[in-house]
């Protein structure tokens, strides 16, 4: 089965260590909330602003989840230190999109997918099936891998922070973007499918993809 999606808006961010020049202070004026945000939450909130998505269903993908909070917890347990409750609450995989829902008062369905290197492909598949209901959906993927000693396990990812968002709806029109031949060296494979689409998005034409389920 094939489902075609029209990409209404697309945006992506990446940085070797961190994505710089985020507008978090303007987008999250409440300091108490802003201070608790994870890096992934800040990137998602930034992207949602860029693609003008405030309310509606979100399909989020992350292979490694909240790696910094997870590593803080592991190190605290190893060293018999006091474990931070904020680190624990921020360690679940749906943290980033949950903060966005709190910020935007978005009470819609929000689903988090974590399917390893195929995470963004699975986000496209699940998103396509959900989009058959006819609403506009946000598909968003993010990896934030900038933790101490990440080089002990990372040998191939150059951009430790990366995030991509697509605002989509289902369409019957023919595909205009092909994402079979992916060339995204240095980015996490978990975002490569959706990143390829975002890179090929143009405001001057119809942007349609065909997702094979």
């Amino acid at each position: 089965m094939k489902i075609n999606l029209e990409i209404l808006e697309a945006s992506y961010l990446f940085g070797e260590k961190e994505v710089e020049n985020l507008n978090t202070k303007e987008l999250v004026p409440t300091m108490v909330l802003r201070r608790r945000l994870t890096r992934a939450a800040k990137l998602i909130i930034e992207l949602m602003s860029k693609v003008n998505f405030k309310d509606g269903r979100i399909i989020y993908g992350t292979s490694f989840g909240e790696l910094l909070a997870t590593s803080n917890i592991l190190n605290s347990i190893l060293k018999d230190d006091i474990l931070s409750p904020t680190d624990f609450q921020n360690s679940v995989y749906n943290t980033a999109v949950s903060y966005s829902s709190i910020l935007q008062k978005n009470t819609s369905e929000i689903l988090t997918i974590s399917s390893g290197e195929e995470t963004s492909l699975k986000v496209l598949k699940v998103g396509s099936i959900k989009a058959l209901d006819g609403d506009e959906i946000l598909l968003v993927c993010c990896e934030t891998l900038n933790i101490n000693n990440i080089e002990e396990v990372n040998t191939c990812i150059d951009f430790l922070e990366s995030a991509v968002a697509l605002k989509v709806r289902v369409t019957q029109e023919e595909a205009t973007i092909n994402f079979d031949d992916i060339q995204n060296d240095g980015y996490p494979k978990a975002i490569e499918h959706i990143l390829q689409i975002a890179k090929n998005f143009s405001n001057n034409k119809k942007n349609i993809i065909e997702v094979e389920i």
Partner: protein, 371 residues
């Protein structure tokens, strides 16, 4: 999209501290067996009650055994025409912990065996599925997996979906919940006035959902989702998100509040959850009050596996026409709820099962006798 196939649960299996299989699980619940044990080796200088499976094999190995049994007991020849949907909150975390605590660095951690996808990665070494996807929304992970299974069969996209909700005990989750001061030092007593908190536990639930009805099928009639949009760990005190999820499930099932005979509550045993969920139930079920119980006093809170295990409990309630009681509920704090005080045999057509999670992620499922 107009296609709306019915969705049938044709096989299920489970393991938890409450039993080696689903019959044992339901018997433990109905007989209020003592299944939660006190441990001192997870949290420094603190006793916590947890639900531990007493087996030599790890959960993944046990899962292999159970999938072999599934293939023998169902009409599936293999999984080549089956979508695998995993729901888990920690994935390969216990393996990561073991290597990290042993080596004090990340060097030996295999990035494929750490994340949520570690379960699917493990299963794909032995089986070939049509496709797979893993969901991780903390304690709603496998409820969302079941919801998605319903959606893809109802829309005519797949005919067979295997849902596995699974979470192993880890220091991260036990110590993490301890840091939030919500763990109980004794078996939890949801809805009871002198509750101490929750019990973290481990286990898995396996459910095969199919388009084709079989002799003893249970129907997954409805799924409802919502987000609290309120707080990362505290549910909305009035239960607005929980109520919306239940309303959406009723809408999806084309049922009314009067059709529900029993609610298997999320019922973790923390004050915040109990208060929010009971307010939601109280505000929605006004005329006919369905029986309400939490089975986490027997199973503990299996986190990402809870939705699947409680779906199995819901199926067994319908199959056996028995509503289980609340273990440890001696003194009611919140009035207006039809608490199940004794396990009873009664006619029940539809069961609603709630799952709520960090981030205000809410999912309600409705199960019914297949007609």
């Amino acid at each position: 999209m107009k296609i709306s196939n019915k969705v049938y649960i044709n096989y299920f299996d489970s393991i938890s501290c409450a039993g080696d299989n689903s019959e044992e699980l339901f018997e433990s619940i109905c007989k209020k067996k003592d299944t939660i044990s006190v441990h001192t080796n997870y949290v420094k200088e603190k006793s916590v009650a947890i639900g531990k499976i007493l087996k030599d094999k790890d959960l993944n190995e046990l899962l292999f055994d159970r999938l072999e049994e599934l293939l023998i007991n169902t009409k599936l020849k293999d999984f080549s025409n089956t979508l695998l949907v995993i729901g888990s909150s920690v994935g390969g975390m216990n393996e990561t912990e073991r290597l990290f605590f042993e080596n004090k660095n990340y060097e030996k951690i295999n990035p494929k065996k750490h994340p949520i996808d570690a379960i699917a990665y493990f299963l794909n070494q032995k089986y070939s599925f049509y496709d797979d996807v893993s969901f991780s929304t903390a304690c709603t992970s496998s409820a969302n997996a079941l919801g998605y299974a319903k959606e893809v069969i109802a829309k005519g996209i797949y005919e067979n979906v295997l849902v596995i909700g699974i979470d192993a005990l880890s220091h991260t989750t036990v110590c993490g919940f301890s840091s939030l001061s919500v763990l109980s030092s004794k078996p939890c007593t949801p809805f009871n006035k002198d509750r101490e908190g929750m019990n973290v536990s481990e286990g898995f639930g396996i459910l095969l959902l199919q388009k084709q009805k079989q002799k003893n099928s249970i129907e997954l009639c409805g799924v409802g989702y919502s987000s609290d949009a309120h707080h990362m760990t505290q549910p909305h005190p009035e239960g607005l998100g929980a109520r919306k999820a239940m309303e959406n499930a009723l809408l999806n099932a084309d049922l009314t509040i009067n059709d529900i005979g029993y609610i298997n509550a999320h019922g973790t045993g923390t004050y915040a959850n109990d208060f929010s969920e009971l307010n939601a139930i109280n505000s929605l079920f006004i005329d006919k009050k369905p029986k309400v119980s939490s089975t986490k006093s027997i199973t503990g809170h299996t986190l990402g596996a809870a939705g699947a295990i409680e779906a199995i409990i819901s199926c067994m309630v319908l199959d056996k026409q028995i509503i289980p009681s609340n273990k440890g509920l001696d003194e009611i704090e919140i009035e207006g709820i039809n608490y199940s005080m004794e396990t009873i045999s009664t006619e029940v057509d539809y069961v609603l099962s709630n799952s709520f999670a960090f981030g205000g992620n809410n999912t309600s499922l409705i199960f019914g006798l297949a007609k």
